[in-house]
């Protein structure tokens, strides 16, 4: 793993040093331990533990309703875990009260939401340059030019003066990605970056993610179930299950597709779900619906 420290890491002040939690693995930038999520009294995810390494592209996959976006929302501090901890670069967002310290933690990552989540009253350039003007103390020209280069990266520089309502859904999503990259954060969280994009644009997005990861060492945490994209970009995949409401597999996508002991996991990554007759409904090692797990060869969770 590359040991390059980014300037914002170097710039760590003593004031927030107390937030550092001992025990974080050297190359772990995100550590999720014993995490459970609930809506009201209903537990939707339970007992999840994993870590994201620096400069890694981690994809969170799973069937519909398995809690991928819920997990992402907890990781970015939009929801408080029912149990467990989520540490971002050693800081626990759920226990950090609103204020300067929390704001500083939040600026370590950028988020690209599924719908783009652009501000409708601002044009595209203003959407991307907003954080630069708010937090980076740059004058208007500097911020605008940086924002424009980000838009060029996602192929939308020519739409800089357009309003979000004038863009297609896919274009809005790409602007959202440019906005997430605006401050060159250490981590970029993406919710379904490929969904709704045409195959060529989707491939270009994948290439952009790979380029940023390689050149700027940006860590990516991506929620996706686009298999083409997963196999192209993911260093590692976490697989969540609706049935089990937890993490059922973790590893390299090719490894999971070929060597997982769980038939459902193999089926998920091969994109070829066998019929329910081919696999018994529940309770056996070959279960699809029940996701029963055989003694693993290192890539399945018990």
């Amino acid at each position: 793993m590359n040991a390059m420290l980014r300037p914002d890491e170097v710039d760590q002040t003593d004031s927030d040093a107390h937030l550092k939690v001992a025990g974080l693995a050297d190359d772990a930038i995100i550590k999720v331990s014993d995490f459970s999520a609930a809506y009201g009294d209903t537990i939707v995810l339970h007992d999840i533990t994993f870590q994201v390494n620096r400069s890694e592209i981690l994809v969170i996959a799973g069937d519909s309703g398995s809690g991928k976006t819920t997990l992402l929302h907890h990781m970015i501090g939009l929801a408080i875990p029912a149990k467990g901890r989520i540490l971002i670069d050693g800081d626990d967002l759920s226990t950090t009260p609103p204020g300067t310290v929390r704001d500083k933690i939040m600026r370590k990552f950028g988020v690209s939401f599924q719908s783009g989540a652009l501000f409708g009253s601002m044009n595209v350039l203003e959407n991307v340059s907003l954080q630069l003007k708010q937090f980076a103390h740059l004058n208007g020209t500097m911020a605008d030019m940086i924002a424009l280069t980000k838009l060029q990266m996602v192929g939308l520089a020519d739409s800089a003066q357009r309003m979000p309502a004038e863009l297609s859904g896919g274009m809005q999503k790409r602007v959202g990605i440019a906005r997430a990259m605006a401050l060159d954060p250490m981590i970029i969280f993406m919710d379904e970056p490929s969904a709704g994009l045409d195959p060529i644009t989707s491939a270009e997005m994948d290439q952009l993610i790979l380029t940023l990861n390689k050149l700027l060492k940006t860590t990516f945490v991506i929620v996706s179930h686009e298999l083409t994209s997963i196999f192209k970009i993911a260093h590692r995949v976490l697989l969540l299950s609706t049935e089990k409401q937890t993490l059922i597999a973790e590893g390299e996508p090719n490894e999971l597709r070929s060597h997982s002991n769980d038939a459902w996991v193999r089926a998920f990554f091969s994109g070829d779900i066998p019929s329910s007759k081919a696999v018994s409904p529940k309770g056996t090692s070959s279960t699809i619906g029940g996701h029963d797990l055989m003694p693993a060869n290192g890539n399945t969770h018990h």
């Binding site: 420290l5 980014r6 103390h137 740059l138 500097m142 520089a157 800089a160 309502a165």
Partner: protein, 386 residues
Amino acid sequence: MIDDPQNETAIEVKVPAGDHSADGSSTLRISIKGSLNVHTLSGAWVKTFDALRKSQSRNVVINGADLNYCDGAGLGLLAEVRREVAGRGGKMQIENLRSDLRSLVDISTLADPSAPQLTRPPRVDVFTETGNWTHLLIGETVATISLLGELCSAAGWALFHPRQFRLHETMAVLDQVGTKAVPVICLLGFLIGTILAFQTAPPLGRYGLVDMIPTMVCMSVVRELGPLLATLLLAGRTASAFAAELGTMKVTDEISALRSMGIDPVRYLVLPRVLAVMAAAPLLAIFSTFMGVIGGYSVMANYGFTFAHYVAQVRDAVTYKDLVGGEAKTVVFGLIVGGIGCLRGLRTGNGPGAVGNSATRAVVTSIVLIIVADGVFGVAYYYLKL
């Protein structure tokens, strides 16, 4: 691989002395050393553009041999230098850049170095603006008339297909816009009656015309203020709610889904809402009027009026024609509130801001049209001697 920029917290911009040109024929060479990031950008920006300003050279070569880190902030600087140089009619080249940084620069290089995308579109002149507004106004008028026609058609359809008419939905809307508005309309009506009596009592009392106060209060409340207050409250409370609700349905394609299923949104969504408001408006006006009259008594009691005396005065002053005239127009006001609220919702544009705009315009348009319609009713009643 990018070097560790840990010890490179400042940027160094070097301009060889011999490269300062006065005639613009030579090439300005700028050497950038260190890491270009958001922390070092401001310093690098100032140094680089100082060098550019001092030089008359059209062309610039940036030597990136000692540049060991460059993120989005640095790319912004390079793009701005390229724009500045392009403005002079020259070219910028970056040389000796490591291949990884070169890739980063390549994917962010603008097709047009002058970056026209940063230029805001010109402001629309007053004539174009006037034309746009006129076009909009004509469009809105046509849409309003069109909706009125569709509503009449839908009402005719409902008469002949009573089992398909959404009575349950209509009653639910009536409950929402009518029943739930009763407390606030009663409060407002009572306060208006009280304030009217309170304000008119002293001046009329000076001329010994205290007996006229119930007449004034009741005539005002029964003929104008009661109905007007009720429908203005509906405009603020209901027209905006309809516009927001239907507008959200439009933005989320629910209206399109209805149309794609062969269901007419006017019959399915608009008709129940408009009928509910047309029914709610006169009922609320009755509450408002009644409480206004009671409010007037609350002041007159202090002037020695007994309740019987006050009621007698009211009965002398107000006729059934006044009451019916006041109530009748609220049905039309209800049509305005319901129709405009739904129309604005159905004509909502794209984006989240569009729903807010629709709600605002629904309220403003409803209030304006209610006041205009009230004026028309006033004139009509005068000539009809009502």
